[in-house]
Structure formats: structure tokens, C-alpha cells
Amino acid sequence: MSLDVLKQLAEQFGRALLRTHSERGDDTAVIEAAAIRAVCLWLRDTPELAFDMLTDLTAVDYLEQGRRPRFEVVYHLYSLPRRHRVRLKVGVDDPAAEVDTVSDLWRNGNWLEREVWDLYGIKFRNHPDMRRILLYEAFEGHPLRKDYVKDRRQPLVRRPAGEIAAALGQRPAARRSLI
């Protein structure tokens, strides 16, 4: 049943499908970055496959393994009606290169892609809201990259001088008297 997914992917996408494996029972397809949206859309909307749930979306940094491309963005899809799963992987060598968003195909893609940007610094093209999610905006670096030292300190974030006074100054007189 599950092997079918990989076979059908190969038939449908041919060259865009770089490698497949089914180690330990998990069907996996490595896909060319440019094709990820088309593959996802096809997997979701083909009735026999019906991958209606984006179970998970994350990334892996293979810096220490010396692998190229350095990063992999990993998608786990699940089909509730068919009860099957597939894992898609997309290689990203240059973090500045963007991967197409799937946030419009599955709604939780929005936050999951924000998390990948936050922790790995990989951006997603056409994402509606590419901000950090778990960390704060002033955080420096992307901590799940292997070259981010685990006990690195972050600079203390202070509000710029005068910002608080200015904010208070904008309040109407009635409110100010309460403070």
C-alpha cells in the first residue's frame, strides 16, 4: 500500500524525485526543492492518495556530517482516509535560498515554517508572515544550526531609551493620572 505512494510519485514526477527509501518502514522521497509545492499539491489532491494532514514540518542540519546540501527540510504527511504516511525531504544548501511555502496547502504550515525559520534560518517563499515564533525578534542567530554553540549568551535586550516615556506621553490625560 505504502510503497505505492513512492511508485506513483516516481511515475508522476520522474526527474524531480531524486531518491527514495523505505528504511524501518518509513517511506521517504527526496525531492528537488523547486518541485515541493507541486508534489505537495498533487499528494493532497489526488483522491487515491489524499494526504490531507501535514503531520510535521522540520529541518535538519548536516553540517557535522559534511553532507551537501547542508540542510534538509523534512515534511511528514498523513492521510486520514487512507491511513498512510510519507516523508518528503528537500535539500537546502544555501540558507538564503528560499523554499516554497506550503502554508496555503495546510494551515498549520504557517507556524511550522515560522519555526524552521526561527530555529534554522531557512526562509519560505511567499509565506504570509515570516517572523520568529518560539524566540524573540531581537534573538541573534538560529540556535538549532550546528554551528550555534549551545551555551552561547544572547545580548540583553533593552527597550530604547525614551520609548517608554514616549509611549506614556501619548496616553490621554485621564489615563496618565492613574499611573
Binding site: 524501518r24 501535514l54 498549520n108 520568529r132 515564533i133
Partner: protein, 425 residues
């Protein structure tokens, strides 16, 4: 800022400026004829630390009177770098970190992580260990659901029933303490088994506790479920369709509330869930009430599962004997050089997990708890991703709140059962 929308209807000439005062009109508003109040949108920040929000989450609400026109949700205030820590430690050292994911049901996280590593190793724990994992896992699910039930009614103003279920949760924790030595952060499950066998009187004490606990749940059900006020605040509030819930990646009781029959224990049985009889409650409306009712019913089902496990469990080994995976006994480690070296290698270098990747998933309190692990053949993970079920549920919170009243935020947020440790990792 004027709070014109909270005022009573004004007489027709009320917005005429008083002598010496500016006109009381909202931004961009024209003088009205008295039929319509001038309104302006108001931004209200709720959280991250708010007495009615259990868990640190920040809501930025845009309000039109009592109505929420849009809600921005920010999470991450409890981010502790779970993955980064896991990558720096050996596979076996990571159990205490998994305890702190969903900290009201740590056993389920222990079990989920252990199964993932075992899938990567290609081994499975002895039968008795698997039964024990089911028992402690279902006890943890009881703890999770009792916490939810208590918080749900307490935050709607019913404080007393909270103590009933929290007392029952304490009994569950007593049992887990009996097994693991710790009330809350157990770190009890091991790769290839569990840390210790059940104490001799465990079965009897568990049966007795379940009896008392069931009585509490039934009393709670009688007290709360048909309460008029409770029903009014729960029924038809924060409805989500099955399609939307699926698109948001919902799993667990929340997805089943929308009528989708998906429970990992039934759909893809692991441990011995295919050898026990239990039912999966399904909702019909996808509202707060259904998500609440499902959790009430699941406590009954969990009690039934535990009773069946206690019947079927048989004496036997609780840990694999493979020296590459399991620590030697204390006698071996202290008295033989092989045992000492074996112990040293496993503790310092860690279990050598063959290179590869797995995604393993179990049914936790909030839904599908997944672990995506990548190994490179060394003793430490390259990647230890936890797929947090309540993070997916939180992606829909802003969408759920739109159009509701301020007072609906609390019950809706409660039914998602966001656990900060799991959502923010």
C-alpha cells in the same frame, strides 16, 4: 481613548460638545443621529502572564465591543531548547527532557521517545515492559484529562469540582510515584524496557484507586455536564469543522471532537493496544462541549484499559539483556571488569544507534506525539524533533476566537489543553 461602546445609548444631542470641551467622538466618526454609537476598535493584550490563562501565551485581541474581530496568538514563552539539549546528550540521557514536554503526562512522553529510539535500533522491549508502559501511560492520560477537567471548570468559575479531580489526580501520581519514585518527572521508561518492575501490591492498589477515581469522575460528570451555565458557555462555542481541524494538523481529543475517528492506539496499534478492548469517543459538533465530553469519556476508557492490562500482564523480564543497549546489573558493574567497562561505555558514550531516520508516533494526552529522530551511528542524536500535538491545536486558536466574545476565550483556550512545556519545547 474613549470607551463610547460601553456607555448606554446616548440621547440625540449628547454628542454635542459641552462648552469648553472637545466633542466626544471616536476617531474618524461623524456626528451621529443617536441611532448608532460611535465605535472604534480597541486592542487588548492578554497574557503572556494572565491569571486566567494556564500556560504562558500572549493574545493580541482586536475588539469591537465584546466581540473579537481578530486575535493574534504568540507562543514560545516557555521555550527551553529541548532539541538543542537532546542533541548534546546521549540517547538515554534524554528521558528527563521528555518528562518536561507535556508535564502533566510525562510517562506518555517517556514511552513515545523510547518507542522511537527502539524503532531506530530495530528492537522491542520484553512483553512485561510493554504492558507496564501501557499501564503507566494510561495512568498519565488520566492525569492529563483530570487536569484538563479541573482547569476547565475552575476557569469558568466552578472552583470546588477542581479540587475533586485534582485530588483524584494526586491518587494517580501516588501510583506513579510507587512505580518510579517521583511524583511528576518520572524518567521511568528506558530504551529496551523500564527502569524497575512494578511493586508487589501495585495491581491491588491500582484497582482500588481506579474504583475511587471512577466514582470521582462520575460525580464530577453529574455535577457539571448538565449544568445550565456550563452548557451555555460550552455548547456551540468555538466550532471547528473536521476539514479545518485536519488542515490545522489537529489530532487527539480535539480532532475527535469534530467527528474524525483518528486515534493512534486504534489506527496504528502499538504496544499491546490491539489486545485490549476500548472505545474511541467521537464528537459531532466540534464545539467546546464535544471536546470536553470526549475527555470525560476517555477517562472511563483509560480505566478500562488499565484494568485489562492488569489482568493480562504476566511475570517476566522488564528490560532487554543486550549489553549494547541495557546497563549491566549493579552486581556486574561493581564486581566484574566487563560489567564495569560496559557500564562506563553506555553512560559516557551512549548507546550506539545505527545511522538512519525514523518518525515514530504515539497517542499522548493531546493527540499524536511524534518523534522524528536522525542518528549518525554515534551515541547522541543528530536531530531529536518532538512533534507537539498542542502546538498544532494552537495554530487554530486565532481562527477559533474570531467572532467570539471575550468571555469565550477562556473555555476555548482550555479545551485546546495547551501545555506550555510541550507547545514551546
Amino acid at each position: 481613548m474613549r470607551d463610547a461602546k460601553f456607555a448606554r445609548p446616548l440621547p440625540p444631542d449628547a454628542d454635542a460638545p459641552l462648552p469648553g470641551r472637545p466633542a466626544l467622538l471616536g476617531h474618524g466618526q461623524q456626528r451621529n443621529d443617536g441611532q448608532e454609537l460611535p465605535t472604534e476598535e480597541m486592542v487588548l493584550n492578554m497574557g503572556p502572564s494572565h491569571p486566567a490563562m494556564h500556560g504562558t501565551v500572549h493574545l493580541r485581541l482586536v475588539l469591537d465591543g465584546e466581540k473579537i474581530t481578530s486575535a493574534g496568538v504568540s507562543v514560545g514563552y516557555l521555550h527551553r531548547g529541548f532539541e538543542k539539549e537532546c542533541e548534546a546528550h546521549t540517547w538515554a540521557e534524554n528521558f528527563p527532557y521528555t518528562d518536561r514536554l507535556n508535564y502533566v503526562s510525562p510517562m506518555l512522553n517517556n514511552v513515545g521517545y523510547a518507542l522511537a529510539v527502539e524503532k531506530l535500533l530495530g528492537v522491542s522491549a520484553p512483553a512485561r515492559a510493554q504492558w507496564i508502559r501501557m499501564i503507566v501511560g494510561e495512568l498519565a492520560r488520566l492525569s492529563d484529562h483530570l487536569t484538563y477537567l479541573g482547569a476547565q471548570v475552575m476557569e469558568l468559575g466552578a472552583f470546588t469540582p477542581y479540587f475533586y479531580v485534582i485530588k483524584a489526580r494526586e491518587w494517580v501520581w501516588d501510583l506513579l510515584e510507587l512505580v518510579s519514585g517521583a511524583r511528576l518527572t518520572h524518567a521511568y521508561v528506558r530504551i529496551g524496557g523500564v527502569a524497575a518492575d512494578l511493586p508487589p501490591d501495585f495491581a491491588a492498589r491500582t484497582r482500588e484507586t481506579l474504583e475511587r477515581l471512577s466514582a470521582v469522575v462520575e460525580e464530577f460528570d453529574r455535577l457539571i455536564t448538565r449544568n445550565r451555565i456550563f452548557m451555555d458557555r460550552m455548547q456551540g462555542v468555538a466550532v471547528i469543522s473536521a476539514d479545518d481541524a485536519i488542515s490545522h494538523g489537529w489530532t487527539g481529543p480535539c480532532l475527535r471532537g469534530s467527528g474524525v475517528e483518528y486515534d493512534v492506539r486504534k489506527a496504528h496499534p502499538y504496544l499491546f493496544y490491539d489486545r485490549v478492548a476500548f472505545e474511541i469517543p467521537i464528537g459531532a459538533n466540534g464545539d467546546n462541549m464535544d471536546r470536553y465530553l470526549i475527555r470525560i469519556e476517555e477517562t472511563r476508557q483509560s480505566c478500562a484499559i488499565i484494568r485489562q492490562c492488569l489482568q493480562q500482564i504476566e511475570p517476566g523480564a522488564i528490560q532487554l539483556t543486550d549489553p549494547r543497549i541495557s546497563l549491566p546489573t549493579k552486581a556486574q558493574a561493581y564486581n566484574t571488569i566487563e560489567g564495569l567497562i560496559n557500564h562506563f561505555k553506555l553512560v559516557v558514550d551512549g548507546i550506539e544507534v545505527p545511522a538512519g531516520e525514523v518518525y515514530s508516533y504515539t497517542e499522548a494526552g493531546n493527540g499524536e506525539l511524534g518523534f522524528y529522530l536522525v542518528a549518525d551511528g554515534s551515541g547522541r542524536p543528530v536531530k531529536c524533533r518532538c512533534r507537539p500535538p498542542c502546538f498544532m491545536q494552537m495554530t487554530a486558536l486565532g481562527h477559533l476566537l474570531r467572532g467570539l466574545n471575550i468571555a469565550d476565550i477562556i473555555p476555548t483556550f482550555d479545551t485546546l489543553n495547551m501545555i506550555g512545556g510541550e507547545c514551546d519545547r
